[in-house]
């Protein structure tokens, strides 16, 4: 009571609203003058249960709302099922509609009051004042938008899933997955024999059935593992003593989704599929359902790694493309997909090297280096070769003599990799280039010149040589080299500043008015997703990583490390990772579509070809790139 009269410079109701705001983020960390600005310009509104608060038909959003009391739900019309679904709920102290307000567009979702609801609102001019004056508020708004990207990302995955056709969706009847002769045994069979049968058939489970083919139990590799670990039963124990009794079962008409839910609920990896009389028809495993195609991945990697002819390697490349397609469709994120592509590419490179070493070993120990996107483990299907050789000069041989022996070998490797689909590097950044086939000492000198006597021209190469990784051969020489490089860069503020300046050369393609800035190429609107979209992230992150001694070359890993080191705010790092990954996802999807149409792969897309959702993602992701570049500008005072 008495407190109500203390701060008498502001009316009671203004103070009360400030008090309410203070209990909720982001207002809780905003300064009083900003809260007062909000409270003094606020309007209190009431919406009865079911009233529309904000609708796509209202035109461009000009008002910012905070729920004072009650709840708002987002309502979207599901056209497929012709029903309304709630897409989100906004409760007390939460704000809306951020993305529409910042994007200066109408809302895409009908906002409806859920229960009697009071909202505080401010008009656009007050919002802009707060946005420009309060850093906390601004950051919140921008991050709010970027976490929206999470939802958007989920929608990409579901649409990719839908495009795979009905055969792979979760509403497929189980019988399609499970109609295969399940491996069975009778209850009295010894464990050893049952496991042998599993091994022969290369399966992870065996169903124990009675004389009428009713499933009575299941025994899986996991059961075997725990049985051996506990050591309670010998391997000749009848299986009925160690099996899991009454295994989970579903009728053949049940769909994959039911099965998935059941498995998720009980943490089972296998389910029995039975007919109306409880006769066993088949078994369905977690892997069958969520075929993120790990089997294929492992198999494919093994097949590539053991291929005996270049021919085989070349033909396997189309399998890689198919795998990527499937993975994208099953909702793997772009970070996982590029890593898997890189893994398979590494296996291919290694196999090409091994096959050639068998045929014609030059006899000089060497490490095969990769640079650039391959070095960063960020390869997509469109990839060219950026590689080099770091060799140990054998006793009694000069460096030039060793190089003489290695260069023809490297030439063959480069050519054969080209046959496998790794385009020859136009800039000749390849191991067969004598300037990139160097001893450890020569590489060290090379980097000293690169760092100490840096010119704007050779900075262009920083995106290649400063993202370096060993694919084949001993790792230790590269590790030593990297340590020297990182130490030199950390000590060299001028080089860092030049790198930073270089990283700012490529601006995200957004105009001041948040529209896309197109390349001037003919009439078609085109954006270069790699150079304009990804490069600003990759290059800015590289500067921070090198300046702070982060050894990783992968951009996402670098961001994680920088967040751990406290160089990046963790929330910022997340928003940037998201933005980067989403651009990458759009780029890879475009590549898959180009492949389907039999076109040559490029990194150019026309945003007009994208659906509105993707356009919005792109725009938001580019804005995150701008924020990251701003941090670079501030850090290096550029």
């Amino acid at each position: 009571m008495a407190a109500a009269n203390q701060d008498s410079s502001r009316p009671q109701n203004t103070r009360a609203i400030m008090g309410f705001l203070r209990e909720h983020a982001p207002f809780s960390s905003m300064e009083d003058p900003h809260l007062a600005h909000f409270a003094e310009h606020a309007t209190l509104r009431f919406f009865a249960d079911g009233d529309a608060v904000l609708s796509p038909d209202d035109g461009i959003v000009k008002r910012f709302y905070v729920v004072k009391q009650g709840r708002i739900r987002g309502e979207r019309h599901n056209e497929k099922e012709d029903r309304l679904e709630t897409t989100f709920e906004i409760s007390q102290g939460e704000c809306f509609p951020l993305a529409a307000l910042i994007g200066e567009r109408p809302t895409r979702t009908l906002h409806r009051a859920s229960g009697d609801t009071f909202c505080l609102s401010i008009e656009q001019d007050a919002f802009i004042t707060l946005f420009s004056e309060s850093e906390t508020f601004r950051d919140f708004c921008i991050r709010g938008v970027s976490s929206l990207l999470d939802q958007v990302n989920q929608r990409i995955q579901s649409s990719a899933m839908a495009s795979m056709g009905s055969s792979n969706t979760l509403d497929t009847p189980l019988e399609r997955y499970a109609l295969r002769n399940p491996i069975v045994c009778s209850p009295d069979v010894p464990v050893r024999k049952a496991v042998a049968r599993m091994h022969e058939n290369n399966v992870g489970s065996i169903i124990v059935t009675d004389d009428n083919r009713h499933p009575t139990g299941i025994f899986t590799l996991r059961d075997l593992r725990s049985m051996i670990a506990k050591g309670e039963f010998p391997l000749d124990t009848p299986i009925q003593q160690v099996m899991t009794q009454n295994p989970c079962r579903l009728p053949a008409q049940a769909d994959a989704f039911e099965a998935a839910m059941l498995m998720a609920e009980h943490h089972f990896a296998h389910l029995c599929v039975v007919d109306a009389d409880d006769h066993l028809i088949g078994v369905v495993s977690e892997r069958d359902l969520f075929s993120l195609q790990r089997v294929d991945l492992v198999n494919l990697a093994r097949t590539i790694g053991t291929a005996t002819h270049l021919r085989t390697l070349v033909s396997l490349r189309s399998d890689v493309s198919r795998l990527v397609d499937a993975m994208l469709a099953h909702g793997a994120d772009s970070g996982q997909v590029v890593k898997i592509i890189t893994t398979l590419n590494d296996v291919t490179v290694r196999r090409v090297l091994e096959l050639n070493l068998k045929k014609n070993d030059p006899g000089i120990p060497f490490t095969w280096l990769t640079f650039g996107s391959e070095g960063r483990q960020e390869q997509t299907l469109l990839t060219d070769q950026d590689n080099g050789i770091l060799f140990q000069t054998p006793e009694g041989m000069t460096e030039d003599e060793a190089r003489e022996k290695l260069l023809p070998f490297a030439r063959t490797i480069n050519d054969e990799l080209a046959e496998c689909g790794f385009t020859l590097c136009k800039g000749n950044i390849m191991a067969s280039n004598p300037k990139l086939c160097l001893s450890e000492r020569e590489w060290d000198d090379w980097f000293i010149r690169f760092i100490e006597a840096s010119t704007p021209q050779n900075l262009v190469y920083s995106s290649i040589f400063l993202d370096m990784r060993a694919v084949f051969g001993p790792m230790e020489p590269l590790h030593r080299l990297l340590e020297n490089v990182l130490t030199r860069i950390r000590k060299n503020a001028l080089f860092q500043k030049m790198l930073a300046g270089n990283a700012l050369q490529r601006k995200p393609p957004l105009t001041m008015f948040r529209n896309f800035r197109y390349l001037n190429e003919g009439n078609k609107h085109s954006l270069d997703l790699k150079r304009q979209g990804l490069a600003p992230f990759v290059e800015s992150v590289r500067v921070f990583a090198l300046a702070n001694g982060v050894e990783a070359a992968n951009t996402l890993e670098r961001m994680d490390a920088l967040a751990r080191n406290g160089v990046f705010d963790p929330k910022d790092a997340n928003a940037w990772k998201e933005g980067y990954s989403l651009i990458q996802a759009i780029r890879m999807r475009a590549h898959q579509e180009m492949l389907d149409r039999g076109e040559e792969l490029t990194n150019y897309i026309d945003p007009d070809d994208l659906n509105p959702l993707d356009r919005r993602i792109l725009r938001e992701s580019f804005r995150q790139a701008q924020r990251l570049q701003q941090k670079l500008e501030v850090t290096y005072q550029l």
Binding site: A2, P11, Q12, N13
Partner: protein, 235 residues
């Protein structure tokens, strides 16, 4: 808002205090065909030294405006009157205004003139409005010789008129505030009570729109009808 009042007071002080012309003050508006969705309504709450209008005095005035079915908070009135001669021991425990705050308040006459100008003759709503009406009219007459009758409406009537089935468990402001789940920031602070009353009024106006009550006139009629109904029940 305080800046406005200060400027206004400074302007007033430049002239001769007490020499106002009552004819220049805004005239109250009658409840006619003005649309509720466009009208400005004043929601007011007074704190007084007691309950007896013939001997107790107004010590604080809080008011907000409703405009187009919303409450714009840049349009509000929150003043403590300067009445140090009053004995407030009896009620000080309820509303929390101590002698110190009162002596820092504003000259009554100035404050009332400002209030009249700010209200601009718009209809005045209050919870149990008879009480506020009696005190405000008495004060305006005694201090300014102002006797023009404003249109008053009682929110305590408006709410049951539009929500006849609401089980509030009582007829007080607190009962309705609880029914709508409102949090009143500082109960018995004039401005906070006025805001709570106004928030309840918003809910009623929202319902009024759906029930086809569109104008001030229709609203007034609905209230009269409701009161008659209440009186019939009473006998």
């Amino acid at each position: 808002m305080l800046e406005h009042i200060k400027q206004w007071l400074d302007r007033r002080r430049g002239g001769v205090i007490g020499s106002h012309n009552p004819d220049n003050l805004p005239h109250p508006k009658a409840p006619g065909d003005q649309l509720l969705s466009e009208s400005r309504l004043i929601v007011l709450d007074l704190e007084t030294t007691g309950l007896n209008a013939s001997k107790d005095e107004v010590i604080a005035i809080g008011a907000v405006a409703i405009q187009g079915g919303t409450i714009p908070l840049d349009d509000q009135f929150d003043l403590i009157l300067r009445r140090p001669e009053l004995d407030i021991r009896e009620t000080v425990l309820i509303h929390g205004i101590g002698t110190e705050a009162l002596t820092q308040g504003h000259e009554t006459e100035d404050a009332l003139l400002y209030l009249l100008e700010w209200m601009n003759g718009d209809p005045i709503l209050a919870y149990h409005s008879a009480f506020d009406q009696k005190f405000l009219e008495k004060t305006l007459k005694a201090q300014l010789g102002y006797t023009q009758p404003h249109t008053w409406m009682d929110v305590a009537d408006i709410l049951p008129a539009f929500f006849p089935d609401a089980k509030t468990g009582g007829k007080g402001l607190d009962h309705w505030a609880d029914y709508f789940g409102l949090e009143v920031s500082a109960r018995h602070h004039a401005a906070a009570d006025a805001l709570a009353t106004a928030e309840l009024t918003l809910a009623a106006l929202n319902k009024a729109g759906k029930d086809g009550v569109k104008t001030l006139h229709e609203l007034n009629d609905k209230l009269k009808y409701h009161r008659r109904l209440q009186n019939m029940h009473r006998f």
